[in-house]
Point group: C2
Chain length 197, copies 2
DNA sequence: ACCTGAACACCGTTCAAGT
DNA sequence: ACCTGAACACCGTTCAAGT
C-alpha cells in the first residue's frame, strides 16, 4: 500500500469525488487529505489555497460537456449553450455554488461566461451588449441551478413543507427564464439594427 | 457601564453594523458577542443558530425600502421594484450573498420574491408564470448585485487587473438585464393573451 | 428569563524539518 | 521535489450551572 506521488490532478479529482458524494460543506482540506492518505499540509504544495482549488473544480465542471454546435442562429446557439451548461452543473452536487463563488472572486476569465458570450458572436449586438447579455444569462442560470440543487438536497433529506417539487417543474422554470431572456434579446436586436432612427 | 438586558433586536442591529463595517467574513458569532459585551453562548438564547440570524438580517435589508407605488402598468411596477430592491441591497455590504443563501435555505417566504411577484399581480400571466417571472428576475438581480458588491470590495482593496469598473457601468449592466427581461415578458404576454391560435 | 464558563469538535494555513 | 509534524489562530454550538 505504498502511496505513489500525488499530482495536482489527483487532488482535483479526489475533490470532485468528495464533492458529489458528500457535498460542498464536507469538502474540507482535512477530509480531502485523508482521502488521499496524506497530511493536510501536503495539499498546499499543489494548490496555494482552498479558493484556488475550488476555482479549478469550477473549471472542470463547466468544461466537461462541450459546446453544442448544431443549433442555428445566435438565439438557438445561446439557448443550446444555456441548456448544456445547466446539464454540466447538474452533474455535480453544489456545483452552481462553486462556480458562482469562483465567478465572484474573478479568478481568470470565467469559462461559463465565455461560452455564452461566444454564442453571441454571430448576433447583431456590439461587444458591450453581447457581454451584458451573456452576463445576464449567466446570473439567471447560476441562480436557478443553485436553488434547484439546494431544493434537491433538501428534499432528499426529508424535511420540506408542501409540494414535492418535481424535476420537470424545475426544467419548466428554467425553460421559462431562458425563453424570456432570449425573446427580450431578439426584441432589442430588431430595435437596434434596422431602425437607428 | 452596566449592560442592559439584550433583545433579539439588539443582536440583529449589532450584526448589521458589523456587516457593513467589516463584511460578511468577519461577522462571526464570537465577534458579534464581543461587540455586545457578552459571551458567544449568550447569542444562542436569542437565535437558535447563525443561519437564522442571517435570515433575519436578509429580511431587514430587503424590507428597509418600501415598494415603489407610482409606476404604471405591471411592467413599470416590476421595473421599479427591481431598482428599489437593488438599492436596498447596495445599502449593506455583502447583502446579496446573505439574501441568496437565505433564499436557498428557503426559510419562509422570501420577501424579495414576494415583492417582485406582487408587481405582477396586475399582469396577464397566470399564477405559475407570474411566479416564474418573479423568480427569474430575482435570480438575475441577486447574481448581478452579488458580483457588483464583490467587485466594489476588490477594487477598494486595491489589487485588480485592467479597468476600474465604474458605478455607472454596473448600473448600465443592471438596466440592460432588467430591460431584456421585461421586454421578453411583454412579448410572451402579448403572445399568450390575444392569440391562442 | 437571560447569561457565563468551559468544553467539544472542528476549520484553513504556515513553516521548519525531513526524505 | 514533495511531504510530515507541529503548531497558530481561529470557527459554530452545546449545556450545566449561575443569577
Amino acid at each position: 500500500m505504498q502511496n505513489a506521488r500525488l499530482t495536482r490532478d489527483d487532488v482535483a479529482r479526489a475533490a470532485l469525488r468528495i464533492l458529489d458524494e458528500l457535498g460542498l460543506p464536507d469538502l474540507t482540506m482535512r477530509r480531502l487529505a485523508a482521502e488521499l492518505n496524506v497530511r493536510p499540509s501536503a495539499l498546499y504544495w499543489h494548490f496555494p489555497n482552498k479558493q484556488t482549488l475550488l476555482a479549478d473544480l469550477a473549471d472542470r465542471i463547466v468544461t466537461r460537456r462541450h459546446p453544442a454546435e448544431s443549433a442555428s442562429g445566435w438565439d438557438g446557439r445561446l439557448r443550446a449553450e444555456a441548456f448544456v451548461l445547466r446539464d454540466a452543473l447538474l452533474a455535480y452536487r453544489d456545483s452552481a455554488e462553486i462556480v458562482s463563488s469562483s465567478l465572484a472572486l474573478g479568478l481568470g476569465e470565467n469559462p461559463a461566461h465565455a461560452r455564452l458570450r461566444q454564442a453571441l458572436d454571430s448576433s447583431p449586438f456590439d461587444a458591450e451588449s453581447a457581454d451584458r447579455a451573456a452576463t445576464t444569462m449567466l446570473h439567471f442560470l447560476l441562480g436557478h441551478v443553485s436553488l434547484e440543487q439546494q431544493r434537491l438536497q433538501y428534499d432528499s433529506l426529508g424535511a420540506r413543507s408542501g409540494e414535492p417539487v418535481t424535476l420537470e417543474s424545475h426544467e419548466g422554470d428554467f425553460r421559462f427564464g431562458v425563453d424570456i431572456l432570449i425573446a427580450g434579446l431578439r426584441d432589442r436586436a430588431s430595435a437596434d439594427s434596422p431602425a437607428p432612427s
